[in-house]
């Protein structure tokens, strides 16, 4: 039985465990129909030209993990950003772990989707926002919608800001031979409110994990959202991350994606600008080795005048890894004075590595400034020679130059501890200690 059939039959079992009277279930039934019709995307589709899901579909993933897996904090401490105090929403094999988490209802709501679905006090927010920006015909998104049950629910009311950043951590224990997870997150940031979120997926063993995650983010007028995705999973884990962001007037949303680990990662990052003077920032650092595959698929839809978007993705590809970047900017007829900027720089350090990049512009307005740049190259031999002639060994010199290459992206990270952590991961990945923090 292939994965699609298995998922379709599991949906019936899934229905036994959820409240069928809940209006959310209507959305789920609608979504499963779409998935049944479309199935998993194939390489024949333009959007999936460079990324194949065939190997994943052959694995016998268990859809519903056994309940309750206990973990000790000390064993998993290193996966947390433990240097600073944060709210934590932790899931173990897709199940919420109250023992490891720290949620709040003090002025802001940092809690769970399952309670947001079931408790009447959240009903209004769910009605207004849930599944409103997520695609209703993209097959993997609808697959997630069909099985949506658990995930992080974050609601920041007008003029509020949580006391500390929020961490969302998805852990896979490896108790199952192969596990499929489908977390669903909803982040609503009301007028003039602010939030900082760090998300991480981590499997603790070599057992295969396939995560198909959907996150919806709503930024109201003057809202300010920072979202950091740390992707440094085991090389047996695959992640499809679908993020949909809807922005209103004057809001600022920044999404940073750091991809270092994982077998197959696909990031579908979609920004919809539904107001004026919006600022959207999409940045990413990707450093890959072995047979890793990372596909960044971004969309920025400028639908109103006077908005800006900034995209900057840097990639370093070694061994047999594959990198894909597909960035799309759409500027509607009325979106005059748009300022859209997109850049993708790549370095190939191995003969077996591949890069496929496709930066696209679709522009229907005339008074705009849109540009994209894309480069593929190597480290500058002369610069390398300069460093080595001053006594820096080749390995360190190379690492230094790669640091410098990626540094642009790190500059806009607003939590210093996140920056430090990313620097450490980069150092690990490159296998060197340069002896100072950048």
């Amino acid at each position: 039985m292939d994965l699609k059939d298995k998922l379709l039959s599991s949906f019936l079992a899934f229905e036994n465990n959820v409240d069928l009277e809940n209006p959310v279930h209507e959305i789920r039934s609608e979504a499963i129909k779409n998935f049944e019709e479309k199935g998993f995307p194939s390489k024949k589709e333009e959007a999936w030209k460079y990324t194949s899901l065939n190997s994943l579909q052959k694995v016998d993933f268990s859809i519903f993990p056994k309940q309750e897996n206990t973990l000790e904090y000390k064993d998993i401490k290193k996966y947390f950003l433990h240097e600073i105090d944060t709210y934590k929403i932790v899931f173990v094999d897709g199940v919420y772990s109250s023992y490891l988490s720290e949620t709040t209802h003090d002025g802001v709501d940092v809690c769970l989707m399952s309670s947001a679905f079931s408790k009447p006090m959240f009903r209004q927010v769910i009605d207004v926002y849930f599944n409103k920006v997520a695609s209703k015909d993209e097959s993997l998104t609808t697959l997630n919608t069909a099985f949506c049950k658990e995930g992080a629910y974050i609601y920041i009311p007008k003029n509020k800001m949580p006391k500390k950043p929020i961490q969302i951590l998805h852990l896979a224990t490896g108790n199952e031979a192969a596990l499929m997870l489908q977390p669903r997150n909803l982040v609503v940031v009301e007028e003039n409110a602010e939030v900082q979120i760090i998300e991480r997926h981590q499997s603790l063993t070599e057992n295969e994990v396939f995560t198909n995650s959907v996150t919806e983010i709503f930024a109201a007028k003057d809202a300010n959202v920072d979202y950091y995705k740390v992707q440094n999973d085991a090389n047996t884990a695959s992640l499809i991350d679908n993020t949909y962001i809807s922005q209103k007037d004057n809001s600022v949303v920044r999404v940073h994606t750091f991809s270092f680990g994982g077998k197959l990662i696909r990031n579908n990052l979609n920004f919809y600008q539904n107001g004026e003077r919006i600022d959207s920032t999409l940045k990413g650092v990707t450093i890959l080795g072995e047979k890793q595959h990372v596909d960044h698929h971004t969309l920025v839809h400028h639908a109103q005048p006077n908005c800006e978007s900034h995209q900057d993705y840097k990639g370093i590809f070694g061994e047999k890894s594959t990198g894909v970047f597909n960035g799309k900017i759409i500027v509607d007829k009325i979106a005059q004075k748009t300022n859209a900027f997109q850049q993708n720089n790549n370095i190939l350090i191995s003969d077996k590595a591949t890069i496929n990049t496709k930066p696209q512009l679709e522009i229907f307005a005339d008074d705009v400034k849109c540009s994209h740049g894309c480069t593929i190259g190597q480290l500058d031999d002369e610069a390398l020679f300069y460093l080595r002639s001053r006594g820096i060994p080749k390995k360190e010199a190379t690492a230094l130059m790669m640091y410098a290459f990626a540094n642009n992206v790190l500059e806009s990270v607003r939590i210093p501890e996140v920056k430090t952590r990313i620097n450490k991961i980069i150092a690990n990945k490159l296998g060197v200690r340069v002896g100072f923090e950048l």
């Binding site: 333009e46 190939l348 496709k358 696209q360 512009l361 740049g373 190259g377």
Partner: protein
């Protein structure tokens, strides 16, 4: 004088196709429709050898199995392939010894276009192989070329007289099953040009042909084959204008270039098929497959000025097979009213130290859509491959669109690839700068558009540059000085 962009836009929109006239020449036309008999009939009419007929039939067989591509960023009513006559030839067939014998009406047509054969002869020293409705009616300067051993003739003549060359090279760069339109062309091509430059010969003049569609309801399927043998050089020009017609006309050409070791081919095109009227009615469908193959140290350079056609689907490509080979692509695409253009290039780097340059300029006005679609592919054995791409778009008015779809695939760590694209309109500050120096707005816009396309216009051969300017005028009068 206050000549604003608004006014310019209005003028552009109301500008009718100037060269829309129709020459009444009796034609020998095959019945509409396409089947094996028609393919055989075309082949027979051209008195082709058996291998050519078989080749056409194989292509036709493949074409029947294929589907029309839909991935391009264009929308149009698909042509009914059974409602097209696949062959028409001017009736008065006997070959002319001098221009005086040519049908005066035909000469008149060329005069209206400003490209009369004798003028070309006198002024430019260009040998013109005129293809009017598929059959070559005049070939000049043949003698000068023959002295150098250069073969420049229509492809049907080449099939008769140089079958060994045609048989060896036809379909080697664009296989007959390459794509839907290439297969169609392979099955039914009526005529086209053939050119062979022998080893070490530098062609003393620019070779040029003018393709035109004339007969109502006939599509034109040319086939061009240019072979530059080792160490040779040729510059080839191709230009088109077509009479105004309400019915959509189909144009599916195939151009194959072969540049052997150390050879260089420069291929320039000015395309000005009828773009349809300002309501978007009529116009030519231009679905062209152009590809060149570079052997060691060879160079192929494509230059195109695309101002016409209702729908353009065209990707002149270079396969950089030999080490140290060079591919270049310079393009200006102008779209106005309801025109749609999806054009670009493919640079396939296979050999070591291969280099490619892409400069693409798109200008959209009216309600037109202008897309750049390109592929730069560096294969794993292409050490030290280098590519530079630049795509700039200029938008005039807020009803048109400019799109960029660059595909970049690198499989070698020594590859160096750069791509940049910008989209902008004519800046008010730019116009202001000109105004304050006493240049009126109309002139200023002309200057700016001219400057915007200069990089590409400069690449055209001298003789052609004047013609290109003339054709650009039709699409963007008032903006090109």
């Amino acid at each position: 004088m206050a000549y604003t962009e608004e006014e310019l836009k209005k003028e552009l929109e109301t500008k009718e196709y100037e060269y829309g006239f129709y020459t009444d020449i009796e034609s020998d036309t095959l019945p509409k429709g396409l089947n094996e008999e028609i393919v055989i009939a075309i082949s027979k009419k051209k008195e082709e050898p058996d291998w050519m007929t078989q080749w056409r039939l194989e292509a036709f067989k493949a074409w029947k199995e294929m589907e029309e591509p839909e991935w391009a960023n264009v929308t149009y009513k698909k042509p009914d392939f059974q409602d097209i006559s696949y062959y028409s030839a001017p009736n008065k067939k006997p070959k002319y010894n001098s221009l005086d014998e040519v049908d005066p009406e035909l000469l008149d047509t060329f005069k209206k276009l400003g490209i009369s054969v004798d003028e070309q002869k006198k002024l430019a020293g260009v040998a013109v192989d005129i293809v009017m409705d598929s059959v070559s009616v005049a070939t000049t300067f043949k003698k000068t070329l023959a002295e150098k051993g250069i073969i420049f003739c229509s492809i049907s003549e080449a099939i008769q007289e140089h079958p060994e060359l045609v048989k060896k090279y036809i379909g080697t760069v664009v296989p007959k099953k390459d794509n839907f339109y290439a297969a169609l062309n392979s099955a039914v091509f009526s005529d086209g040009s053939f050119c062979y430059i022998p080893k070490g010969v530098r062609c003393p003049m620019e070779l040029s042909t003018y393709f035109r569609i004339n007969q109502a309801g006939t599509g034109q399927f040319e086939r061009t084959l240019v072979i530059a043998d080792e160490g040779s050089y040729v510059s080839y020009l191709e230009g088109c204008t077509a009479p105004s017609r309400d019915e959509n006309q189909l144009h599916a050409a195939v151009v194959e270039l072969i540049a052997m070791d150390d050879a260089e081919i420069k291929y320039s095109t000015v395309q000005n098929w009828f773009p349809g009227d300002k309501e978007g009615k009529g116009g030519v469908f231009n679905f062209v497959t152009k590809r060149g193959l570079c052997e060691k140290n060879a160079k192929i350079s494509w230059t195109q000025v695309e101002t016409g056609s209702a729908v353009t689907w065209k990707y002149p490509s270079c396969v950089l097979k030999g080490d140290n080979s060079i591919g270049e692509f310079y393009s200006i695409a102008v779209t106005n009213n309801f025109q749609q253009a999806d054009t670009g290039t493919k640079m396939i780097h296979l050999g070591k130290n291969t280099r490619s340059t892409i400069i693409s300029k798109g200008i959209s006005a009216g309600q037109s859509q202008n897309s750049y679609r390109g592929l730069v592919q560096v294969n794993s054995r292409a050490e030290n491959a280098r590519n530079f791409s630049q795509c700039d778009s200029l938008l005039m008015g807020n009803l048109c669109g400019a799109h960029t779809f660059p595909y970049i695939e690198a499989k070698n760590k020594t590859a160096q690839i750069e791509h940049e694209a910008t989209t902008s309109k004519i800046g008010e500050d730019q116009i202001f700068y000109c105004n304050q120096r006493g240049i009126d707005t109309e002139k200023a816009i002309a200057l700016i558009v001219n400057g915007f396309s200069k990089e590409v216009l400069n690449k055209l051969p001298m003789e052609f540059a004047v013609e290109a300017q003339k054709l650009l005028e039709i699409s963007l009068e008032g903006s090109v000085g």
